[in-house]
């Protein structure tokens, strides 16, 4: 971690100061996990579907350059203008240039985690461009001047009363009113005006089909469609890993995506954008931003299979009890913890440690990313690269020495148990994080080794 910034453990400790809120956050996301289970367990061949998706994505990652070029050719033939961006900066500059070239200073944007990753909103605001997020959850966090805390449920950390207060300030709803129906209607009216007046709309891309040059955008609110259909210029931003080879593969991914994400059989809108309508410009920006580096890391390559369903967050017992913002990166949770170190190993050195390695994430992942194994492997890489503390290094060396020597181990164990029995204050104090909210184990008279020596010596 860079000095001065709070790490996951510190941010999670702050989140945990309000236990009722933690319970509410945990229960809310657990409910989504249960909805996902119901759908997954109710669909015959669920595990085979996951395996198929995993293998399609393996194929994509092995032939990424070819599929991307095929997509480019086919998209261009459809009349889509294709741009390539090596990193976030290039992506943001392309968006700005497209807007300025067309004399546009106001844009509507539907959900795109890639633009969060690129910090597009901040960049455009600095350039005097007004961006309004049209996904309801995204709009709420935008009004609150916060980043999303979850990739599918951006404002899942906010209670409806807090949203009522925000809408009262920004949208003029009655003070103290947190009726979801009323708040949604207010947002609807507010966004309707935005959709009608914006000349440019930016959307994300869930899947880009190499064989047809089309791309598919999934939303539940239809907000991507509202924006794109009314705007003169549609800009779609996609990471290079969003490619699938053929349209028929959507039959695998669309069935997995919504079931994994929210426990719905399918997203309300799965819109295929194939070509611009008459007089409209359609642009697609294909972004690398570290992905080709990750592709080169054999142990972490298949993290690029991610379809951004958020199932690993909903199931993660740590995420549910620490909140998305504790991950201090655009993509939180277990998948974020294996993606972020690729972008900045020092800044995100804490994230692979924000896990018990329970493995639930890997089990829900619709494309079978071995998330918890990669968390373990990132820990090794991060320590080897030196992004750890001197104190931790010293304690690990001492532990390794003690546990490598039976004599040191037996003596150490004896001393430890003696201290715990006769001088418990040496351990049971504020310097011991275990003791803060947990009692230490009762030290026994004998270790098992000592007992065995007395009772089973042959």
């Amino acid at each position: 971690m860079e000095s001065g910034l709070k790490d996951h453990a510190e941010l999670a400790a702050i989140f945990n100061k309000d236990e009722n809120r933690v319970d509410w956050h945990d229960e809310t996301l657990w409910w989504v996990r249960q909805k996902r289970d119901k759908m997954a367990h109710g669909l015959p061949g669920w595990e085979a579907l996951r395996e198929a998706a995993s293998q399609i994505k393996d194929n994509v990652l092995s032939n990424l350059n070819e599929y991307l070029q095929q997509f480019e050719v086919n998209a261009q033939a459809n009349g889509i203008i294709v741009h390539w961006a090596a990193d976030a900066k290039e992506h943001n500059e392309i968006v700005l240039e497209l807007l300025l070239k067309n004399g546009i200073r106001k844009m509507v944007k539907s959900k795109s985690m890639l633009t969060e990753e690129c910090h597009l909103n901040e960049y455009l605001e600095q350039q005097g461009i007004d961006v309004i997020d049209s996904d309801l959850g995204e709009r709420i966090v935008q009004l609150a001047k916060e980043p999303p805390s979850h990739i599918v449920l951006p404002c899942i950390h906010k209670k409806k009363e807090e949203i009522g207060d925000l809408f009262h300030i920004h949208l003029g709803t009655p003070a103290g009113n947190a009726d979801p129906q009323l708040l949604t209607e207010a947002a609807r009216q507010h966004l309707r005006e935005v959709f009608l007046t914006r000349k440019a709309a930016l959307t994300g891309v869930n899947f880009a089909v190499a064989e047809t040059g089309e791309f598919v955008v999934c939303t539940n609110e239809g907000n991507a469609d509202m924006g794109a259909h009314l705007a003169d210029i549609h800009i779609a931003s996609m990471g290079i890993e969003k490619i699938i080879p053929q349209r028929k593969h959507l039959g695998v991914f669309l069935r997995l995506l919504a079931r994994s994400a929210t426990g719905q059989p399918i997203t309300t809108y799965s819109s295929h954008f194939v070509k611009p309508r008459d007089g409209q410009q359609m642009h697609i920006i294909i972004v690398d931003n570290g992905r080709s580096i990750q592709l080169g890391r054999e142990d972490f390559r298949n993290s690029l299979k991610c379809i951004r369903c958020g199932a690993c967050m909903n199931t993660c017992p740590v995420y549910r009890r620490s909140g998305g913002h504790s991950y201090h990166t655009a993509i939180a949770g277990p998948i974020g913890a294996i993606l972020a170190p690729n972008l900045d190993m020092e800044k995100y050195a804490d994230l692979p440690f924000a896990s018990t390695l329970c493995g639930s994430c890997s089990n829900v992942c619709p494309v079978k990313i071995d998330i918890h194994q990669q968390l373990y492997k990132w820990r090794q890489v991060i320590v080897q690269k030196g992004y750890t503390t001197t104190a931790k290094k010293a304690s690990m060396k001492l532990m390794a020495f003690t546990l490598s020597s039976p004599a040191a181990y037996h003596t150490g164990g004896k001393v430890g148990r003696w201290v715990l029995k006769h001088a418990p204050f040496a351990v049971n104090n504020k310097f011991n994080p275990w003791f803060k909210q947990r009692d230490m184990p009762e030290p026994p008279e004998q270790s098992f080794g000592e007992w065995y020596n007395e009772n089973r010596k042959k």
């Binding site: 669909l43 493995g359 690990m396 546990l403 184990p441």
Partner: protein, 242 residues
């Protein structure tokens, strides 16, 4: 069949009862079991903290202690998973030890094929599914997967006379121990533990059991701090009871 008994370091030092029960249970089932006295630790505490490169000494010691046995059995899913997945040493290039190490309930079920046990434990018991045993060694089916139910530790517990296994709201959620996670991420670890304990208490558990003493130690620390009378017991102590 010669079986080497591996007792994880913290069980040896703090929970000898679990180790004695494991030994006695195996002896009761007619197993020729020996405890090599110079064993220490599987190396997992270092490895899970990102220091797998410091586990060479532990690995060599482990191989030296257990190379001569047909099977290695340990009352811990977590340590066994670590040995299976991450223990390497020059003295065992074929990784034969990784393939012959078994968690206790796995050994009883898959190798000894135990069909009945002379155990009696007339109490309400909550079964904690330790993650590494469950999701790593597949000791029980996992709620995330669309697949048939089974549970090796659960089947063994059902052989115990008088036992009543209680249901849980979340039957396989992590307790939050997580090795050094329990101190590095103290706030979340404790919250996870409190929630897990509350699930067992809500369903009237008198005892919480499981295949890993580490999870149980964490939950015991919380139970004791709360002043609860509910006890934790390693599954070997129940299978060996009465």
């Amino acid at each position: 069949m010669k079986v080497g008994l591996f007792i994880p370091c913290y069980v040896d030092q703090f929970y000898p009862g679990a180790a004695i029960a494991t030994l006695q249970l195996l002896e009761k089932l007619g197993v020729d079991v020996t405890y090599p006295p110079n064993q220490t630790c599987c190396g997992q505490p270092m490895a899970n903290s990102g220091f797998e490169h410091l586990t060479g000494g532990c690995n060599d010691l482990f191989i030296k202690n257990f190379a001569g046995f047909d099977y290695v059995v340990a009352p811990s899913g977590s340590c066994v998973l670590h040995i299976k997945e991450h223990l390497h040493g020059d003295a065992d290039p074929q990784e034969t030890i990784n393939h012959k190490v078994y968690e206790l309930t796995e050994f009883l079920t898959d190798v000894l094929k135990v069909k009945s046990l002379p155990a009696k434990f007339p109490h309400k018991v909550g079964m904690h599914q330790s993650c590494h045993g469950q999701r790593g060694l597949h000791l029980s089916q996992m709620t995330e997967l669309a697949a048939p139910e089974y549970s090796k530790p659960g089947s063994l517990l059902n052989m115990v006379e008088g036992i009543e296994l209680i249901p849980l709201n979340r039957k396989d959620e992590c307790c939050g121990f997580g090795g050094t996670f329990c101190v590095a991420e103290e706030a979340v670890s404790v919250k996870m533990g409190k929630d897990r304990v509350a699930d067992h208490l809500e369903h009237g558990a008198e005892y919480i059991t499981g295949v890993d003493m580490s999870c149980l130690m964490h939950m015991e620390g919380i139970l004791n701090r709360q002043g609860s009378k509910v006890k934790v017991l390693h599954i070997a102590e129940i299978l060996n009871a009465g």
